[in-house]
């Protein structure tokens, strides 16, 4: 086995066998899954739905409100006062929606009375529904249109972003959703560089303080030791990420399976309730629900489909590795120049600032992926692994991508070379506080 692979193996095994690694790999996915599952679960556990009594003096709003998980509408024909008495005396309803007769001309006269305030989204829903009915009523009255005609008048508009390329072709791009995907990947790269770059640095410091380094470099070249460490830690990161994805994926899937029964049961129950009211209406309701979700998922997959996934994935891997190698070697150099972790501060600063700046710029890049800030930040190697990742799913000109990649590749070759020089001298330097000037000398010194 070659010596570098021996080093990689040791760096990998030592870290993977650590308790903290195992705990992180198990606790991490549980946290991620919990973050996704618990809110959903809590939502299904909401045992007190708002049971709203609708007092509709106009007769226009009967069955115009859709029952949901936590909103049930009941239409009663009695006076507001009777209803209020009932509410006060622990009647079956939890709120009264009062729609007065004058609502069509005076839409601000609708009132709701409650014991527990309905959520603002419920209120918004009721408002928009009432507005819609009034609008329909007005259109019907003034222009003599049928309901079908009216719904035909309401088109679903969506702007499809098309990028005009140099050769006159148009290509559909992914829009905001694509930027979102990009940002998630970019954030991943950011986290990865930070967490594992620091691990590389710690590893170097450990070797130095344990005084093992001279023993090792009498067998291998310092550069081999450094590269072995950087690659070994990268593999640890890949392993951890893989475990996290698989475990959290399994957990989420399992949770979905468990809760799916609950959800469908609730749905069936709901349909049954409506069925009791009006069988025909129920069938319609189910149909509408279905088509609604269909269009949503279709739109989602449409948009996702516009993202060039093989390209995004390829770029992700490239920028992932490129960024990590670029920064990882700098972290290794820092580790070699100091005697203990507390001395790293002054050297860490110039390395972490561009990283943190990159994640701030990334947010601006979502808004304006082709603006000058996003453009330059995606070309300069200090920020390009993060910023270019935000831009790629939206669509980037080939020359920009190639330029950025070439620069990053050159930079990581340069930074590993430079780090190698610092490392070679630094690891044998004990008990001496070094500064940037001194490190500069190490770099320019001939071997």
């Amino acid at each position: 086995m070659s010596k570098v692979s021996l080093i990689i193996q040791r760096e990998y095994l030592v870290r993977v066998k650590k308790k903290s690694f195992i705990i992180m790999s198990i606790v991490g996915p549980i946290l991620i899954a919990a973050l996704l599952i618990v809110p959903t679960w809590l939502a299904t556990q909401q045992d007190d739905p708002q049971n709203i009594e609708v007092i509709d003096e106009t007769g226009l709003f009967i069955r115009q409100f859709k029952n949901t998980e936590d909103l049930k509408f009941n239409y009663e024909f009695r006076s507001l006062k009777d209803a209020q008495d009932d509410l006060r005396n622990d009647g079956p309803y939890t709120a009264i929606l009062h729609i007065p007769e004058v609502v069509v001309t005076l839409p601000k006269t609708v009132q709701i009375f409650y014991e527990e305030k309905p959520s603002s989204s419920s209120l918004e829903y009721m408002e928009s529904q009432i507005a819609k009915v009034i609008e329909n009523k007005k259109l019907e009255d003034q222009f003599d249109l049928s309901l079908d005609q009216i719904s035909g008048l309401r088109p679903n508009v969506e702007i499809v972003p098309n990028k005009l390329t140099a050769d006159g072709q148009t290509e559909e791009t992914g829009g905001v959703l694509a930027s979102g995907v990009g940002f998630v990947l970019a954030f991943f790269i950011y986290m990865f560089i930070f967490l594992y770059g620091v691990q590389v640095m710690r590893g170097v410091i450990e070797e130095k303080t344990n005084r093992i380094v001279e023993v090792i470099i009498s067998s291998v070249k310092p550069f081999q030791l450094m590269i072995g460490k950087i690659v070994g830690v990268a593999l640890v990161a890949f392993t951890q990420i893989a475990i996290m994805i698989v475990l959290s994926g399994t957990l989420i899937f399992a949770a979905q399976q468990i809760f799916k029964d609950d959800l469908t049961k609730a749905k069936v129950e709901q349909v049954k309730q409506i069925e009791n009211l009006n069988p025909k209406q129920a069938a319609k309701e189910v149909q509408a629900e279905k088509s609604n979700t269909e269009t949503f998922t279709q739109r989602l997959s449409d948009r996702l489909g516009r993202i060039n996934f093989p390209l995004v994935l390829g770029c992700f891997l490239f920028y992932f590795m490129g960024g990590y190698l670029f920064y990882g070697s700098l972290f290794a150099a820092i580790g070699s120049a100091v005697d203990n972790e507390t001395d790293t501060q002054q050297f860490m600063f110039p390395v972490t600032v561009p990283l943190i700046a990159a994640i701030a710029i990334a947010q601006a890049a979502i808004e304006n992926p082709d603006g000058p800030l996003a453009f330059w930040a995606s070309i300069i190697p200090f920020t390009s692994p993060i910023i270019m990742m935000v831009r790629v799913p939206v669509g980037v000109a080939a020359w920009e991508l190639l330029l950025s990649m070439a620069l990053l590749a050159l930079s990581f070759l340069g930074s590993t070379w430079m780090a190698g020089k610092i490392y070679r001298t630094g690891i044998l330097m004990y008990g001496k506080k070094v500064n940037f000037k001194e490190i500069g000398k190490w770099i320019v010194r001939k071997s």
């Binding site: 010596k3 080093i7 001279e214 023993v215 090792i216 009498s218 044998l428 000398k441």
Partner: protein, 314 residues
């Protein structure tokens, strides 16, 4: 004489000072070679160059007649002065790792390690963490991994520091055994006692220059000054009066009726003449030549060569 290692006019310069200034050494094959010098003289710099950890600015190194090349790393075993182990690793695992880095086969490494561990009484520690070892035991492990791949050239930098007298003897015996088996050993140390005891050749480096070199016997021969120690019974005044102008009494001590005197013979005086002169006056119990210790030679040479004190490196 066949030399396993030859360094020719090796010069190494760091930013502010010269660590080595045209240093040449010849290490005879199968010998124990002492690399001596005060702290910061440049010993470690030279050792690092031989180990190819750093490269010389000028000069050449030959190992077994060939110019030093990366492949030679596996012929050398190096125990640095600054030595340690990965604290969190298991002892056996750690030793296996270091052995394999020297290019050893896994199976061979394991067999030999088991044997060495038995010899050094470490067998029960194979699966323990390095941080549980005492300092002496960690030193033993380090020694083992240095010699495990049976290097032709062994470079030991202060090998006895951190050992108690019993383990010092254990390691010393192993060094002698390796020498008998044909290994050449370079020993860098301040411990002059062990130099006299086990080294055949030395080089003394001071202020980045080699100031003395050769076989220990020859050096001691060169440095002796015709001083003899006489043990006798009788009157010191009588003894002094017996000395003629070709002698110089350096000092004398008394222990009851027994006296000791150091006499330097100048000119062509011989010990026989000295005896003839004093026998009629005192009862002579012993006469022997005073051989300068390496310690004395070391101090004398370093002091003579250190007149303008320069800053220490390392």
């Amino acid at each position: 004489m066949e030399y396993i290692l030859k360094a020719e006019e090796v010069t190494k310069e760091y930013a502010k000072h010269k660590a080595l200034d045209k240093v040449s050494i010849d290490v005879p094959k199968g010998s124990i070679f002492g690399l001596l010098g005060p702290n910061g003289a440049g010993k470690t710099s030279l050792i690092r160059i031989i180990n190819q950890i750093t490269a010389p600015d000028e000069g050449k190194i030959y190992l077994g007649g060939e110019a030093l090349a990366p492949k030679h790393v596996e012929m050398i075993g190096y125990l640095p002065e600054e030595r340690g182990l990965y604290k969190k690793m298991e002892v056996g695992e750690q030793a296996m790792y270091l052995a394999q880095l020297k290019g050893m086969d896994k199976k061979v490494a394991k067999e030999r390690l088991k044997e060495w561990f038995r010899k050094f009484d470490l067998s029960t520690w194979w699966n323990k963490k390095v941080e549980e070892l005492s300092k002496g035991m960690a030193q033993k492990v380090q020694f083992i991994v240095t010699v495990l791949h049976e290097p032709k050239l062994l470079i030991l930098d202060e090998p006895f520091s951190g050992f108690d007298p019993i383990n010092t003897n254990l390691v010393k015996a192993e060094i002698m055994r390796l020498k008998e088996e044909g290994t050449t050993i370079i020993l860098s140390t301040h411990n002059m006692g062990s130099v006299e005891e086990i080294c055949e050749h030395i080089a003394l480096i001071n202020n980045s220059k080699k100031i003395l070199g050769g076989s220990v016997k020859q050096i001691q021969e060169d440095f002796k000054e015709g001083v003899y120690e006489v043990n006798f019974k009788g009157n010191l005044i009588g003894f002094t009066n017996a000395l003629w102008t070709g002698c110089e009494l350096l000092n004398s001590t008394e222990e009851g009726e027994y006296k000791k005197a150091k006499v330097r013979l100048t000119g062509h005086g011989s010990p026989n003449e000295l005896l003839k002169a004093i026998v009629p006056h005192v009862e002579v119990h012993g006469l022997q030549e005073v051989i300068p210790s390496m310690n004395e030679i070391f101090i004398r040479q370093v002091e003579a060569n250190s007149a303008p004190k320069t800053s220490e490196n390392e």
